[in-house]
Subunit: 282 residues, 2 copies
């Protein structure tokens, strides 16, 4: 039943509560998981909500275990919501066959091409259905939402923010796929989910979106220089920064010497991202 | 070949380096893994070494991913070494059949009973062979070592510290199996590894060791009250604290309301444990 939340697991953490929920998604026509951390202060008042979008192969859980985010959420007085990276067990043939398409690889788009379009509506899920659901059910301040993410989730965060400048007060990303139409895995995903006509890809390409939309807030991006996906041209943060400059979009792109693509990189710099969002949320 | 270190993985993390090593252990007569985090300051000088022993079913990796320890190690200027929880792939029949005996469940004892005794020499490995190896190979201050651990690893840390009061400057534990001879899983493991005669168990039971040995440093123990293993009598921290009091051993046992047995509990309180050890190591 749409809207009904099933609590699967719950842990006390840094004085707050980390919960794993499951619910039926109307958008994705299936059962979806997400995690929600409520800081101690949420007992007494509505708190700002920071969205985190994960990367390829991740679930709603990885971030909660690896990023060290709960400590900071408790300190900054933010809730953090993290959706799964795709629908699962949809019955779409081949959904589990590739690590970069189908399960774990929804790319935060609303698919328009069969067979994916019947379930893979992650953009609407992440920007509409899930925010409505959590804001209805928890002490969250709907006017104070920001978004960040890692890799495919960094791409998702940039796209969600640029397309919804009033909904999200700020955005940041760790090693995002920053210009997906120009990368192999972006092209593969967009072809499968959106079709061959590249004019339909622009709505899900942060670098393209900057042609028509900029944000008032500065964008923060961290990128490790030892990240093999970066070295192989799968992320392209400099291209994105170039477009930002042309568009007059404030951006801080930080190249972090010797860091790779892992959560050891994310955890090292996540405090700076909380600080970044705190400028706009507090 | 004994003493040869094979680097399997390495990540930059909080300005330092997290490495996963494999080597041949003479004690355990087989290939063993351990992890080592060196803080940024280790580039210039020898640093104190904090040992972490993990719980049942864990590998050398879990702690590095889940505990949030690297941030603190960089801040406090400590290295952290974490061994695996048992030998693996030894060929001992049934070694992988139980989650609480054999692989992942070495209990930090030197087994005396066949078939385990041929490989399961975790006490000597953790207190002798591995310290010698890492101190020879890395910029570590041999005179500044402390030890902590979680669950089975909390038991291990208490035993190692009480039996080697000059080697380890301090000890702490998260939800330790604090009086293993009085718990079901302690009894199962000790019977298998040490035999039926309980007089041989005392050397690996922290509560028993206090009859003959106390430490100058205070012992810190954190225990979550919502921990099902605690509730079911599998940990017995209060019994341990009682024996400490009788023996004149300083102890701080903190019951943490609503926390469970997970790393969400460990990560919440690990900063206090660093602070505890810093009193003795800095």
């Amino acid at each position: 039943m749409a809207g009904t939340l099933e609590l699967e697991k719950q842990h006390r953490c840094f004085g707050g509560t980390l919960s794993y929920y499951r619910h039926f998604s109307d958008c994705c026509q299936g059962s979806m998981q997400f995690t929600l951390y409520l800081p101690p202060q949420a007992k007494d008042k509505s708190v700002p909500l920071l969205w985190y979008l994960s990367g390829l192969t991740c679930t709603a859980e990885n971030f909660t275990v690896k990023a060290g985010a709960q400590r900071l959420a408790a300190e900054y007085d933010f809730a953090i919501a993290a959706p799964d990276t795709s629908p699962r067990n949809t019955g779409i043939p081949g959904e589990d066959e590739s690590w970069d398409l189908g399960s774990g690889a929804g790319f935060y788009v609303d698919a328009t091409v069969e067979p994916w379009s019947s379930h893979y509506q992650m953009y609407s899920y992440v920007t509409q259905e899930l925010p409505t659901l959590v804001i209805e059910n928890f002490p969250l301040d709907a006017d104070k939402q920001s978004i960040f993410g890692h890799s495919m989730g960094g791409h998702g965060a940039l796209v969600c923010a640029l397309r919804n400048p009033k909904k999200y007060q700020s955005v940041s990303a760790f090693a995002p796929i920053a210009a997906p139409s120009q990368t192999t895995w972006g092209q593969n995903a967009f072809k499968a989910y959106l079709g061959d006509d590249t004019k339909f890809w622009a709505a899900y390409d942060a670098a393209e979106l900057l042609n028509t939309q900029t944000l008032e807030s500065e964008i923060l991006i961290d990128q490790g220089t030892a990240d093999s996906f970066y070295q192989d041209g799968g992320l392209l943060p400099e291209k994105f920064a170039e477009v930002c400059e042309q568009a007059g979009q404030k951006i801080k792109l930080r190249l972090q010497d010797g860091y790779d693509h892992s959560y050891f990189f994310v955890s090292t710099f996540i405090q700076d991202h909380f600080q970044h969002h705190a400028q706009y949320l507090q």
